[in-house]
Symmetry: D3
Subunit: 248 residues, 6 copies
């Protein structure tokens, strides 16, 4: 059930059954010479939608710009500062808590979002405790990173081994190829690619990873792989969401 | 050309031709008993995509949550505070100016966004002047509200007269029906609907407009009307965008 | 009744009769070669004082610096950033709501303030809903722009036609001449003046409008015109204020 | 030379002679049963204007709301939070530094402003160092508190002794009586008045000082005293301003 | 070399040899019935000092309050909000970058700090890129969590197995016992202790973990263990710091 | 009783006896050629600990970085911006008020902290009034500056006369020599030292006071003097703290 395709009265009815909601979050950032700028948002949105169908959960609109400051050396990248992103998450969740939602499951497509999401959750719990909302103390937030699902990871290892890398990976590229076959890109990829290590400033990132990839070979990706990743991620995150809802 | 379906190298190539970009912005808010929560984002996104095709402009991912605090008395509404939204716009534009973009055309689907967008533009111009970017002084931002296009307004008057109202209007509902025929909603609509007047707090809004509509009769909407509105808005805003790009 | 010339006990007594207050807001910004830096604050203050007399309303001290970032390319201009101005308005209103005021009528002398005032009102309603104040949900804010009064506009058209322009207008200069005849300025005015169009950064503004005027010919102003504008604005805004107070 | 009664071209001419500017700052807060809410702003504005005449200095518009949170238990008091006031001062000074001003002399009418002004100056120096302004390192700010002038203090001791107190004092009331003889107030004053001690929250303040006075007997004030205070303060602060301008 | 026991001229001399600095960061939060409130700061400070001796690195004063909002249901806990902590780190690092430091190694004693530290680093890199500092692009930050050192982890497993738990652990308690033998605490510990799971709000935390421990048995700790942990952590983090300094 | 060496259950027990807490606050900033960077924090921490013993008060961890922006022209100085420091103090106090503390006595070692501490207290009282805490209106904060104790001042005059100066003073250096005899520094001190006057930007400060001292001769300091200062400050501030706790 997609929030943006629902009416407020349908939301009201849903809230009588469940107080859980799934929020997809991605990023708009460079993904190497053949990866789409929207890769992380596209993947999160599709998987969240799939999980929503399996679990009959409400799915909020996708947050398609996240924390990608380290990629801003490449044109087209859009990022929030962490301090801004904390406020965005706080505003979203506060509105939804006022609506009656208390269980927030963020399906995330971008590793760079994780730290700031955690910070934002802490900030939000504290903020909500200052308001007089009856349900504030029940609020729970959790991040489900599709690319860190055990099954996804195993398949990526099996298909790509060390060429999976850690940014602009064949697994995420495959998933976007499955979802947007009309936007499969071809571009020369140097054989040598810096393997991933620490991440500092945007200038440093661009110097270390000149074409944007971190140790990955996205040329290995296929739409068929993408479907496999999609199915695994939906299955595993559906289970995670259901466990998240279960009290205990 | 959709930014999220492009690679960074394609963005780099685009920037050699044009420094303009279209950013769709909507809202996630109640739209009466039969309007979709995502109405404003859906309309902005579709029209922006259409304008992008006509003008060969780059189109950024849609900002699907805006300034809708006055609707937060209805479940499902998500809003940024104006102060947060200013930071979001400032972060977006600063990243894109660093990329080389200087002309920002926001295609907007929500009247409640206009004031904060203007504030955000002022804040951003000032912020950019403090950075040492060669292109800061060329930066220009403009809002194109599809629902305020002359041709759109005329058609709405013709089709609905005073029943167009000012929130959850038949014109915007029609547009979403055209775009998402599978999500056309039916719900009883009281004949009496408060005509629109001033807007204050969320509590006051809900008290004045108990089902969320402001003077509108969305039952008049049809998908066919929606197509007409879409075509007119794309045409008129394409022209506006081209004029915006023209120096002078 | 001027707040700054009242005692707290007089304010307390007033609040038993009315919860309305008028807040004049202007700007300190260039107004062309012959307009005063304080034009917008001077006009708003005088008209608010007049409306206060007619309606027996409390009038707060004038906010004499507003949102004028686009004028900061001219020396002497002082501006708040929109984000700062939102906090200023929020602080003012929160204090006054704690005092017992709930109806805020801002008499405004500067077009550049309008967007940020609207943003600030939204931010404030939301903020107040988080506090435990018994009167928070009754709070209402409205802007009355003296220069947009129908009667004022008509007189300006009549007297100046297209030479009214949109910044450093003869109508506002006339009003300051009436109020401060000792500060009537003479300076050469080029015949050609850029007609008003869009406003972007301060640097761009100064380049487009080199002497600060936007399509106006303030040499047409006279103190006598000023008195006419004053009377019309006081009359029309007094009526607006009384309607604003009337429940419905 | 009053900034608000000058044109931008007059400001430009002034800046060739001097980079100094006087900014009056007061407060809008309770001043006991007979003191005006605007006392601190009224005094600061009048004295600043006097100093401006003596020294031929530019005088900015008065900041008439300052840091008076501890008085917000009394109706009509308006205060900025310290964090807001820091931003206001930073915005003012940054605009004026861009104009070419570098020496800021704040004539202050309210003890409660002093700490936050000092914080704001530190914040501003640091902020300016991050911008690329040629004159940033020459910027200097100083506070001149009229009520702490040696000559003012001596006269207050002579006239009122211990009945001067520390809030709603006869000296400041006298000054407003001189400036606004039409607004001299009469109200019963209890003989017992809590002598001043520490200041904590607004609720605590009101409990300790139930009519708003701190150890003062404003019934001793006369307009003639007010004139004496005015003359002394103008004389002493004119000298302070001239010393402030002198390099060394 | 401890910064707080150095003169500025010694710092200046040090900077000619190295641009690296170690910043210990901990927390002030409940650590169960027998753990010290300052455990995380005490451990970080001692280990940082040890690493400083081994590596001849400059060691900054300890940040002894971090992100512990989830522990604020227990008296004595002090925490920054994540948004505040980001500003604190940004201010620290900006000052030190102006001094000439570029390599920041944070020795951390509290898991709850990690996410916000990462957010703060991103925010700081971006902020520094906006300033005109010659060394901004060389800035690198890294977190070294002593409790996550491989050698520390192995010893904890060996000594305590599953009774190590994840908060108020015997390993950290042992370390404080070694450092402050005079402050070894005795208190009854329930045998049943909730094993660690997810962390949400402070109220939820206190409800799940009523005495503050998460799956741990700190009664197993001894000062001798503490010395072992200390030695291992110093050794391993000294190596990490040296690798961090090495370009590549 | 040191908070960081206590358990939460000990804090809980303490709160049944007293709601007072001492918070030492210093700075990390240049103190001339022979003074330690940590002088202000070292002195505040030691004296606070002494006062804690005399009065059996709880002593919080030391805030060792404060408002020292004017010293940031010297390497090694770390400072918060005033706006950040306000948030830090607000976060600390809010957490401790939730714990049950209401009387906050800050033992301060740095003159530059005073203004921002006062601002922070005002901000905090106001913030607390917005929360629903039963004890918010009882909250009181006070600053005790050890270097401004009458007895300390008198001894400094007696021992050093005008060579006490106002920064990097022999009295504070003596106190650190007493506390850290192993860190007594020797460095050539020019005979001429600029006497203290106003403080503006960091660049201006360094230009006026090239070795960091303000009118002081720290070569006069001895550890024995330091002990005398310590004893006097502990005695006087213990009395101040006890008076602070006494209602009235």
């Amino acid at each position: 059930m997609l929030l943006h395709l629902s009416t407020w009265q349908e939301v009201e009815a849903y809230l009588k059954q469940s107080q859980g909601i799934i929020i997809p979050i991605g990023s708009t950032e460079q993904h190497g010479p053949t990866g789409l700028m929207g890769t992380d948002a596209i993947c999160a949105e599709a998987i969240a939608s799939g999980v929503g169908k399996v679990t009959e959960a409400m799915v909020a609109p996708t947050i398609n710009v996240g924390m990608a400051l380290h990629h801003t050396g490449f044109p087209g990248t859009i990022s929030l500062r962490p301090s801004t992103m904390i406020l965005v998450i706080l505003d979203y969740l506060t509105c939804l808590v006022r609506s009656g939602f208390t269980q927030f499951f963020l399906i995330n497509g971008h590793g760079g979002n994780i730290a700031t999401l955690k910070s934002a959750f802490s900030e939000t719990y504290y903020h909500l405790a200052n308001l007089n909302l009856p349900n504030a103390s029940q609020v729970k937030c959790q991040v489900g990173n599709w690319f860190m699902c055990r099954s996804v990871y195993q398949l990526a290892q099996e298909l790509y081994g060390s060429q999976e890398g850690s940014h602009a990976t064949p697994s995420e590229v495959a998933l976007t190829q499955y979802l947007y076959p009309e936007a499969i890109k071809q571009a020369p990829l140097s054989e040598n690619v810096a393997s991933s290590s620490s991440i500092y400033s945007a200038a440093d990132f661009r110097a270390r990873y000149p074409d944007g990839r971190m140790g990955s070979n996205p040329a290995l990706a296929t739409p068929e792989h993408g479907k496999q990743f999609y199915d695994l991620a939906v299955q595993e995150l559906s289970k995670s969401y259901q466990e998240f809802l279960t009290p205990g």
